[in-house]
Symmetry: C2
Subunit: 247 residues, 2 copies
C-alpha cells in the first residue's frame, strides 16, 4: 500500500486492510467526512491507498461491523450517526397510559461548574486543574418523573452550554452537543447495577424507599475514542427489562 497516503505512521506488520481502517478512522475523527454524508467511493479509496477492491471492501467491512459506516447499494458509503436516544429503551420499557411506547421528556434542574471527583477526572482523562459542567436532569412521561440523571462534561469542550438558559435545553442532549459544541458522540459503554432506592430516589421517582432501582453508568466517546461525557441514570427497576442473545 502506498505509504504516502497516510499522515500517521501505520504499522507495516498489520494487514493493509487494517492499516487502511485505522487511517479511515483517523480521517473520520478529524471530521473529514461529516455524519450522514458519503465518504469517498470504493474505487477512489482503492486508487488513493493503492489497493484492490477486495481490500477496500474488507477495510470498510470492519467499520460497518463497528457501526461507524453504513453501505447503501447504488448510493454510497455513509458515516453513521448513532441514535443513542433509543438507548434507554433497551433497558426500560416506557409506555404511556394507553400502552403506546413514548420517549420521556427532559427537564434540567441544575447546572454548575465543579471540580470533578477523582473517578470522573480519571474516566474523562482530565488534568488536575480541569473543571466540569455538571447537569442534573429528570426525565418524565406525561409529567411523571421516571428517570433521574447526573451528567458531567469536560468544561473546555462544552463551554457553549454554560450560556444556555436551563429552559432551552432540549430533550435530547446529543444533537445539542453536536450543534452548539461540535462534539459528536460516536460510541459509549454502559454498566448496569441494581441499587435500593434512597429517600431522595424514592421522593423523586415516586417509589418506596428500599425498592429496587436500576443504575446505568454511561461513558460516551467521540470518533477518536476520547471520553467526552460521564452520565448516570437511575430508574425504578419495575420498568426494567433487558434481552441478551448468546451466540
Amino acid at each position: 500500500m502506498d505509504m504516502q497516503a497516510f499522515s500517521g505512521k501505520p504499522d507495516d506488520r498489520l494487514p493493509r486492510y487494517q492499516q487502511m481502517r485505522d487511517d479511515l478512522v483517523r480521517r473520520l475523527a478529524q471530521g473529514e467526512w461529516a455524519p450522514d454524508t458519503a465518504i469517498a467511493t470504493e474505487a477512489e479509496l482503492g486508487q488513493f491507498y493503492n489497493v484492490s477492491t477486495g481490500t477496500v471492501r474488507k477495510a470498510i467491512d470492519l467499520l460497518v461491523a463497528d457501526g461507524v459506516l453504513t453501505r447503501t447499494q447504488g448510493k454510497g458509503t455513509f458515516v453513521r450517526r448513532p441514535r443513542f436516544d433509543s438507548s434507554l429503551f433497551r433497558f426500560f420499557r416506557f409506555k404511556s397510559v394507553d400502552g403506546k411506547p413514548v420517549r420521556p421528556t427532559a427537564k434540567v434542574l441544575r447546572r454548575e461548574i465543579v471540580k470533578p471527583n477523582e473517578a470522573i477526572r480519571s474516566t474523562l482523562q482530565l488534568k488536575g486543574s480541569d473543571k466540569t459542567i455538571h447537569l442534573s436532569r429528570v426525565r418524565l412521561i406525561e409529567g411523571r418523573p421516571v428517570l433521574s440523571e447526573e451528567i458531567w462534561l469536560p468544561r473546555n469542550r462544552f463551554e457553549a452550554l454554560t450560556g444556555l438558559r436551563l429552559g432551552d435545553f432540549e430533550d435530547l442532549l446529543y444533537p445539542l452537543y453536536e450543534r452548539l459544541c461540535r462534539q459528536i458522540v460516536a460510541s459509549a459503554t454502559e454498566i448496569l447495577n441494581v441499587e435500593q432506592a434512597t429517600e431522595d430516589d424514592a421522593a423523586l421517582l415516586g417509589i418506596d424507599v428500599g425498592s429496587p432501582v436500576i443504575l446505568v453508568q454511561r461513558v460516551a466517546a467521540d470518533f477518536a475514542g476520547t471520553p467526552i461525557e460521564w452520565r448516570t441514570t437511575r430508574g425504578a427497576a419495575s420498568g426494567f427489562q433487558y434481552q441478551v442473545d448468546i451466540r
Copy 2:
C-alpha cells in the same frame, strides 16, 4: 453453484455464499461435524459447492460471526462449542472469601415429570400431550446458596435424565445433555428482570424479604434453532453487574 451439492432446495435468488451458509448450517444441525472437530477445508468446500475461495470464505465468515465456527490458521475451521457455563459471569460477580472468582457448585433438589404450563409449552414448541422434565437446582459458593434455578426440558429428548440419581447430576448440565441425551446447546436468549425477594427467595438466598433479586430467563436452542431448554435463575441483585458496549 452446483445445485447437486444441496440436499435441500436453496433459494436461487439468494447469493451463493448465503445459500452455502444455509447448507452448512443444515449439515451442522444433522451432526455431520461434531463440536470441537474440523469441518472440510476451504479448498474442499470450494470444490464441493463449485465456488471460488473468496465465496467459501464469505460463507464461513457469516458462521464465524454467528459464533458457530472458529478458524485457526494452519489447523482448520472448527465447530465451536459454546461455553455457557461462564454465561452467568456476565451478570453476577461471584467471588470466594479470598476474592478470587469461583464457579458455583450445583445441587439438584427435585426432579419431576410434569405437564408444562402454557407459556413453557409454547416456548418449547410442545404438543398438548407432551410432558416435561422439571429440575429444581440451587447453586452454591463455599456451601452458601447464591442462585436458585428452575429448568424445564422436553421429556422425549431428555428421557435419559429420568434414570439418573439426583446426586449424580454434575455442576454443568450442558455436557450432561450432550453425553447422555445427545442434545447440543448451540445458542440461547436470555431476558433479565428485577424482582423483589419473596419469603422463599429470602430464605434460600439468605437475603431480606423485598430486597432486589435478578431474574434471568433463558431459552436454549440446538443448531437448528429448535428450543430445547427453558431455565429461570434467581440471584441477589447485590452481586449483579452487566456491561454493554454500544456501536
